[in-house]
C-alpha cells in the first residue's frame, strides 16, 4: 500500500460472507443497508465519503437475485485506520444478524479497482425438486449446451443466453435429489442469471433453491 495515498490511515478491507436463508428475500440495496448497520454495531471505524451528504464507503461485489442464498459473497469496506483482519471478523461476528455469516477478511490495495468491476463470473449450485427426472434432464441439458445460441427475452429485451453459460453440469451423486452446477458470466452488460437457465431447461425457478457458491474475480489479489 502507498501510505502517501491515504492522508488519514484509511484502509480497504475485503470481507467474504454468506447470505443465509433468513436474508434470501433481501434485495441488494437493503443488503447494503444491513451491512452499514452491522458495521456500526460492530463498532468498526467506517470511513465516510466527502461531500454534502457523507455516506459510508462500502462496495458489494455483485447483486444476488431475490430468493437466492450464497456462501461466496464479497464486500469491500473502507476503515479510518488499519485493524487486524481477525479483530474485524470477531467484531462483525459479535453483531451479526441471523441472515449473514462472516467468513474471512483481508486487506486489499486502497487504490485498486472497484470491486464490482473485478467480477467476471459466478458459480451456482441449484437444488431441484426431489421428484425431478434426472435422465430426462440430462438429455435436455446436452441439447441446451449443443445449441449455438439460446435467444431469450428479459424485460422486453432480446438477448442470447448461450454465451453467458460458461459451464453447466448435472450432479447426480444423490439420485433422489439432483443438483445443477453452473458457472455464468457476470461482466458489465453480460450477466447470466441462473433462473433464466432454469427456464431454458423447462424448470420452474420458484420450485428450485438457487445457491451462489462463488463470485469469481478477474485477477489474483495482492496479499495486503
Amino acid at each position: 500500500m502507498n501510505p502517501a495515498a491515504s492522508p488519514a490511515q484509511v484502509t480497504r478491507v475485503r470481507i467474504a460472507f454468506s447470505k443465509l436463508e433468513a436474508m434470501r428475500f433481501t434485495g441488494n440495496l437493503d443488503l447494503h443497508r444491513t451491512w452499514e448497520r452491522l458495521l456500526r454495531r460492530a463498532g468498526l471505524p467506517l470511513a465516510y465519503s466527502q461531500g454534502f451528504r457523507p455516506h459510508p464507503r462500502i462496495h458489494l461485489a455483485s447483486a444476488l437475485a431475490l430468493g437466492c442464498t450464497s456462501s461466496g459473497e464479497l464486500i469491500d469496506v473502507w476503515l479510518e485506520r488499519p485493524i487486524e483482519p481477525d479483530k474485524i471478523v470477531a467484531a462483525l461476528r459479535s453483531a451479526i444478524p441471523p441472515g449473514l455469516r462472516v467468513e474471512e477478511a483481508w486487506p486489499v490495495e486502497l487504490r485498486g479497482p472497484a470491486l464490482p468491476t473485478l467480477v467476471v463470473a459466478c458459480d451456482y449450485l441449484v437444488e431441484l425438486p426431489a421428484q425431478q427426472d434426472g435422465a430426462g434432464l440430462e438429455a435436455h441439458l446436452d441439447e441446451l449446451l449443443a445449441a449455438p445460441s439460446l435467444p431469450r427475452e428479459r424485460r422486453g429485451k432480446p438477448y442470447d443466453l448461450r454465451p453467458l453459460i460458461e459451464d453447466l453440469q448435472l450432479d447426480r451423486t444423490e439420485p433422489a435429489a439432483p443438483r445443477l452446477r453452473m458457472r455464468l458470466a457476470a461482466r458489465e452488460a453480460a450477466t447470466g442469471r441462473p433462473e433464466e437457465v432454469l427456464h431454458a431447461l423447462g424448470l420452474d425457478p420458484s420450485r428450485a433453491h438457487i445457491h451462489r457458491t462463488r463470485v469469481i474475480l478477474r485477477e489474483a489479489e495482492p496479499a495486503g
Partner: protein
Amino acid sequence: MTPEEIQRLLEPILPTVEKPGRYTGGELNQVVKDWEAVPTRVALAFPDLYDLGMSNLGLAVLYDILNQQPDLLAERVFSPWSDMEAAMRAAALPLYSLETRHPIADFDLLGISLPYETLYTNTLNLLDLAGIPLHSVARGRSDPLVIAGGHATYNPEPLADFIDAFVIGEGEEVILEIVRCLQAWKASGEPRPALLRSLARIWGVYVPSLYRVQYEPDGTVAGVGLLSPEAALPVTKRIVPRLPPPPTRLIVPYIDVAHNRVPIEIMRGCTRGCRFCHAGMITRPVRERSVDQIVDALEQALAQTGYEEVALLSLSSSDYDEILDLVRAVSRRFAGRHLSIALPSLRIESFSVELMDLLQGEAHRGGFTLAPEAATERMREIINKPVSTAQLLETAREIYSRGWHTIKLYFMIGHPSETLEDVQAIADLCQQVLSVGRAVMGKRASVHAGVSTFVPKPHTPFQWVPCDSVEQIEAKQALLKRRLRGPGLKLSWNNPEETMLEAWLSRGDRRLGEVVYQAWKRGARFDAWQEHFRYQAWMEAFAAAGIDPAFYTHRPRLIDETFPWDHISPGVRKEFLTQDYRWSLQGRTRVDCRNRCFACGILPRFADLRRDHPGPGWECPEVRSPARALAEAIPLEPA
C-alpha cells in the same frame, strides 16, 4: 397445521409475491423462544403491511414487555398484501407468526393494535385468514382470546361484535394483568364467559358483550345497560403513573420499511388543548421521561440496532420541560457519528429553529415542518391553536436563513365554521411564506402544503360537529389546487371519500359492526391505501345493513346527546368537552394548561395514582384538592 407444513406450503409462494421479505421474519433482535417450553403464547398483530407495522412503537413496546417474561412468548403477524392473501387462500395456508411459523389460531392470545379506524376491515380479514371465528360469540374454549387496543379503540363500538376485550388506554401494565387472568382461567377449566367476566374486572379493560346498548327511535343512543356485575360504568382508561424505560432492543428489518430508525417517546400527552386533536385529549396527563433516561436509551438502542437515524417523539416537542438540555445532551453525545436526529412536532417560533440548528449541526438540511393548521385568526381561535401570521412568517424567515430550503406546512380544512375565505387564506399564507423564502435564498426556496380534511373525533370538543359534505370538501380543495400551483409550490390533500370512511367509523356505534362486516365480505381491505379503497363496497355495505351513512357524518348533534362512546372515559369529563365546544363557538381560547388548570377532569380522576407515585414527570400543575374526596368516591376498578 405444523410449522414445518406451513414452511413447505410457503416455499413455492414466496418467490411469486411482491416483497417476500415481509413474510419471512428472521430479523436481528427478533425473539424466538422454545414453543413447547413456554406455557402461554401471545400473537401481536398490526393489521396492515409489515412495512408499516414494523414502524409502530406500540407493538415494539408490548413485544419487549411480554418477551421479558420467562413464561410467555410474543410473536408478530401483519396483514398480507392482496397478492399474498390470494396465494395463501389458494394454498389453504393459514395466517402464521413470523418468528416460528405457528398458526395464529394456535396462540392463547391475539392482541391487535388499532391506532386508526381504517384498519377495521383488515382486522376481520386477519381473523378470517387465521381461521378464528369472526364474531366473538362464536368463539369457544380452544380459540385464542382476541383483544385490541390503540387510539382508535377509545370508541370501540364499531368492532364490539368481533373483539372479546378492548384495552382502553396504555398497555404497558395491563397487558400482563390480562395474560395472568387468561392463565388463571385456563387452569380453572371454566367456560369462556367466565374469562370475559374476570377480564372485565381489570382497570382499563372493556368487554363489550357485557353491555347492552338501547337506542332512541331517532337512532341515537338511549343508554347502556350492564349485563354482568363485573362490568364497570364507565370504563376508565388505563394509564401508567410514570413512563417505564423505552424498549431499546428493537427489531431491525432487513427490508426497507416506513421508518428505519430508533424511536424514543420523550413525553406522552399534550397540554395545548387543540380542539380537533384526538391524541391531545385521550393521552392526558402529560408525563415526561428524564433527559438522562432518553440519552441512555438512545445509546443502548444505537448499539443494538446500528440505525443511522433516531426520532425523539411526542405530540409537542417544544413543550418538553428541558428541551434545550435534551437537545444539547443529544447533540453533544452523538456528534461526529453521522447520525440524523428527528425532532418532530415543534411549535411555530424561532426557538424551534435554534433547536433544530443545534441538533442537525453540519448535516444536510432538507425540509422543516410546521403545523399552523389554520390561516385566519378566526379559525385559529375556533380550533384553539393561536399562532399569529407574523410569528409564522418570522419563523419561516429564520428557517430559510439557516439553510433549510423546503418548509412543509400542515393545514386542515373541513370544519363547519370554515368559509372559502378561510381556505383562500391558506393559499395566501403559503404564497407569503414562499416570498419570504425567495427573499432569503432565491429560487431554491419551496413550500409544501399538506392539507388534510378535518374528521370530528370522539372524546374531543368537536365530537358534536358535523362533517363537510364531499361536495364542500371538493370545492375547498379545488380552490387550493387553483391557487397553489407554480414553481416552488407543492400541494397534497386527502381523497374526500376516504375522509368519509374515517368519519363514519370514528363516531360509529355498534350497528356499524354489520357495515364493517358487509364491506369486508364485499372485498374491502387496506382502506387506508388509495389503490385498495373501494367506496362502492362501503356504500353497498351500508345499504345491506339498512343504515344511512350521513347519520354518522353530517347530522348535527344535540348538546345533550348520549354518544355511543360515553361509557368509555378517557379521564377528561364530558362537561369539560361541552364547555370547550361552547368556547369554540365563541372564539374563546385556552392557554397551555401547564400554567393554569382548566379542570378537564384528569387530576381528580387520577389523584390517587399521582399521590402514590410522587416526583417529577407529571406535568399537571399542583392543584389543592377537593379533588381527593372526589377520586375516592370513584374507584378505578369495579368493586
